[in-house]
Symmetry: D2
Subunit: 375 residues, 4 copies
């Protein structure tokens, strides 16, 4: 990657009173990673400024090296996922930044639009699936989701209908006209699953499955990447970077709740990550309020909150008989509830994007992007 | 409290093959708590049904008693904080429920209104405080907050101006016309602090300080009770119950973020607790997006999300020079940012409460309260 | 699996006043899963007792079904991982239970023995690796660990030497005589990696990678399964069940620390899971105090604590120049520190297993297993 | 406090290209806190070195100041709780450090000794309490614990017998000869409770109750300070600092488990904090494996692990009929189990402190304190 080398990217505080020979060892070892190192003398301390590509140094526990007291990385990492300024600041003091949309068939997710993805947790039977797809379409949603291969905590729980579900999804796409979102579990299944899916979901359990992410990086298939159960925003962005650095720019990030002892059912939807991701990355951000709430009665409130926080879309589980669902029944909305919810979400998105109250995608300092480009 | 005893409140599964003498010992010991116990015979197991007030049994680790396999509490606890139905279901299948408003001076918090409380984390100097109070008032906020006694992690951090801050707050009230919210730390200070405050805040660090809660239960002062750093919704409601059971019904609950390893700065705003509290309690619920985001740039997004999730108000930190604040500067909005934010929040609240899209305060099953009574 | 059907495995509390037709629908739907359902009438409530294999019902959110108030599973699941009684209780009231050992080459892990696995996080260069293997062997350790394929948070961090590392490990095995432990990331690499490894590690990031676990279930290769970053003990056991239910009984469980907001570096070693796993499963349990402490200076204390808690072994990271390690340098012991540590761990294990103070593997009630069989 | 001012305590990286006037404003504002500020010029960046007492700057969110990019505190805070070197390094490269013992009546806790504190969660009835105190004494324990005032999550749970319990405890002390440990909840009760108690416990719920801590700082009563439910090690030490900075040096730290989503019953005993506290503070550290395990069957394993990790003592809950306990019955050992456990703990402590295997209180780098002074 291209890095500006005018400013140092790393400052190292050496131990007080460090002998010159040790200082030289530290400098030499740093330099062996291809960076430029220069000494800065302070009063009672000396420091090393490091210029160049410091990415490989980030994982090295520098502050445990002999002779180093502390290491301070200056500025954020420059990654493919990173939001960057388009150029000069505008006169009003508001920065212009790029924001990507990911094209899923005819649909652009991100870049100012608002999308609703809905469907059952798992594809169960053909007739029910087609009925649900029709209901999802009639509610004004944009994509239909349904799991064919399900990653279940227990090997004895329903694992999805597999290949048969893919056939059902293909038919649902044909009949409803909606693009299909389904989960990919195994790097060996990419071709098969993507023959049906318009958007491939990588679930929370596989956010750290780098073999799978690398495989998906070799394709150009749109990927919906869910945050891991207890992954930080940095780990989440770096998981996306695995796909982008492989050459596939089509990644949509999905917040779906993280584990937390104090939260009900030990899961909390982290909506604060929405403005954070909007600040740090150009990738679209959607929110799954179903897994993030774990109970259907909380889904509408959290879907509304996701829109208000600036999400580019939501991913909602729907089932016509939630109590009969073979997985995640507790958190599924009924088709009627979905139909009530979608227009409210659209109204909210409209309100927040109109002229007077334009508030979405707040940038650092609370300012608002004056230019929002799609690419 | 008054409990219906028609239905059992607790079912106990006895160990398989338990001898009659042991079964009798379990029955007798249960009965010694003043409840009614009856035997139910199953196929391969026997059970005990318990009728009456089972509250004192909830904390007894019943499933560790000899002879008891498992204990299952049926129905929620009946507490002062509990939301209860007003009577018969209405014909449209929507239930009518009571929702309390808490009167703070002229202002009713909850019961359908929307309130904004704003001000600096700590009262620092008189002039700055008065200037901030004027700005808060001009932005259309309803109450002015400012800490006089600050609970700081370090004994060497600024602990608040104490009594002097109370005088400044009294003057701010006089000049701005806004009611005052300030924190109470010590049961011995209740009289002194409440002579100035219209609403007393119990901070996260003291949510479990039951001596303080009991003292406040003896008064009728409106209390803003913040959720503890890692308190569950049940613990939060029971902390409120300490105040209500003492005789003070004037409690406003405040979600302010909980600790979570994966969240940025290890704090996550739990907006899912808003619909949960709306379902479980009649008390007003406000949200503090400042502590819940820990960074100012995320505050507007989370304030909007709080409104969309159904909060009755928000509590926002403001400072005219956030970078000079003696505490919590990182998360304070500027007066200008506040002024931009308040009308957006009001628009959101308006949208969600108008005729077509009335979505706030969803009740179980996604239905909407058709009656919203203040008491 | 074989289940005793004498006792009900599930009790369902129906909603109070549920009409008979609804009750019948619930019964029929339950029965469609192949279980036996019988009605139990209480005073003010009715219940359904369910006999048979209730495993598929565990994931169905029964308490969200119409007509069901609450569901209570009685007794633990009967899984391949489950610890089971060998037969009749002995006269002294102490139960005899089976405890598995997993054979790794000549070494039996579990079943009363104590094993130390040590080595660098990643295989870096041949000479260093061979030197470390010699040091590990000289310290009295039993297996040599070293990563060939490394799952790194950043795609730009050192990813391991891959195939070249496998060759180096093969040579380390030859020279040191120690069995080799290395990580498997991809189901397509099982044959290649297991041609060198005596024990295949599944890392925390892949504990939920069920495609990989199923692949490993088809082999008989010994597997070291690490607990996920925020996985519960139940999820951990069910991940092992994926391997066992595929036909591979050779699984060793490894606690390595879980994420926790309050813990230093947000990771805490959960030693309480050791007695829990010893109670619930017959599989061997080892502990990784290196990842579980995240800092080398805490490793000896936590390694000792792991032995005292009843672990069958520890997994320790060692590096001759920790400050130069390409990964996880912060937490690696030096060869000298390892040499000091191993005899202390052996002494502790010896003390806790001798006649007077036999305390390891405590069973429920604090009693001690009187029979410890290897299989 | 006394700080060496030879070395800078804080380094500030200014924003790249910061104008001189802004740089001066930052310098002036820093200097207004009484510290010395000097400029260090780098290549592409400038820095400010800060000498002097930087404690008040730690809470100021320096990196949100205009003109400051990042702030790096060098070296640990110098507090009353901080472990400090006694003087010159010894020739073998092992540092000598001070380690405090806290005198509780005739008993010295810390400083090389090992203490067991045991008793029921709450004082329930006189006869039972006296019987338990006798059993605790007969098992070789050193102090008797029992709650008189209980902080319970529910206001309807048993709140302790209060003043009557204090009388019972006074009698238990007289009869058993054991010192008494009991909890203090309210700053107004200090005199009353300490008239009976030899060691006052501040529970987890009150670790952040600074009014109480300040009150206790005004006394010389030995304090057992428990870690908060989700408090970091830094917050824990600063809570102790509240007491020490008030003038009371007699503080014993107690790890008792922290909240964690993945842990069983959402609590995990953080034994990694034991070596961390031993490195950072001279105060004695004890461990409560009862609250830290939440289930009695795990208590012996975790008590042993605590000793092995280097704790100066353990705090164990005991009840003669745990299933009848009015609080925390699930986690209480029986007197028989306690009697079995104590000699094992003593053996472990002996093993780890004898000449060959001296491993306790490891210092940074894995070395062992060669001098352990009591004060």
């Amino acid at each position: 990657m291209d890095h500006s080398t005018d400013e140092p990217a790393l400052l190292i505080a050496l131990e007080a009173g460090l002998a010159a020979t040790f200082r030289r060892r530290v400098r030499d070892r740093l330099a062996s990673f291809g960076v430029q190192v220069s000494l800065v003398e302070g009063q009672g301390r000396n420091y090393l400024e490091v210029h160049g590509d410091v990415e490989p140094l980030r994982t090295l526990a520098l502050d445990s090296w002999k002779g180093i007291d502390k290491a301070l990385f200056l500025g954020a990492a420059h990654l493919h996922v990173t939001r960057t300024k388009t150029g000069k600041d505008d006169p009003a003091g508001k920065v212009a930044e790029t924001s990507s949309a990911v094209q899923v068939g005819d649909l652009a997710i991100g870049g100012g639009s608002f999308s609703v993805i809905a469907g059952p947790c798992a594809v169960e039977e053909e007739e029910r699936t087609l009925r649900l797809a029709a209901a999802v379409s009639a509610s004004g949603c944009h994509l239909f989701r349904g799991g064919a291969f399900k990653p279940r905590t227990s090997p004895y729980a329903f694992q999805g209908l597999g290949d048969k579900a893919l056939q059902i999804l293909a038919r649902a796409r044909e009949e409803s006209g909606l693009g299909i979102v389904t989960e990919i579990l195994d790097p060996r299944d990419v071709e098969k699953v993507s023959s049906v899916a318009d958007l491939l979901q990588v679930g929370s359990r596989n956010m750290h499955n780098y073999s799978l992410l690398k495989e998906l990086g070799q394709t150009r298939i749109p990927i919906l990447l869910k945050r891991g159960f207890s992954s930080t925003s940095e780990e989440f962005l770096l998981a996306a970077e695995y796909i982008l650095s492989g050459g596939n720019p089509n990644v949509i990030l999905c917040e779906r709740g993280i584990r937390c002892a104090a939260a009900t059912r030990q899961v909390v939807l982290d909506l604060g990550i929405v403005p954070e991701l909007k600040k740090k990355t150009h990738l679209p951000v959607v929110v799954d309020p179903s897994h993030g709430s774990a109970e259907a009665y909380r889904v509408p409130a959290l879907a509304r909150a996701a829109v208000a926080a600036g999400a580019d879309g939501v991913l909602v589980e729907v089932h016509d008989h939630p109590e009969e669902a073979l997985s995640d029944g507790r958190q599924a909305l009924s088709p009627e509830e979905l139909k009530e919810l979608v227009p409210v979400l659209n109204s909210l998105h409209g309100l927040l994007n109109n002229a007077e109250t334009r508030q979405l995608n707040p940038l650092p300092g609370g300012t608002v992007a004056s230019t929002m480009e799609e690419n």
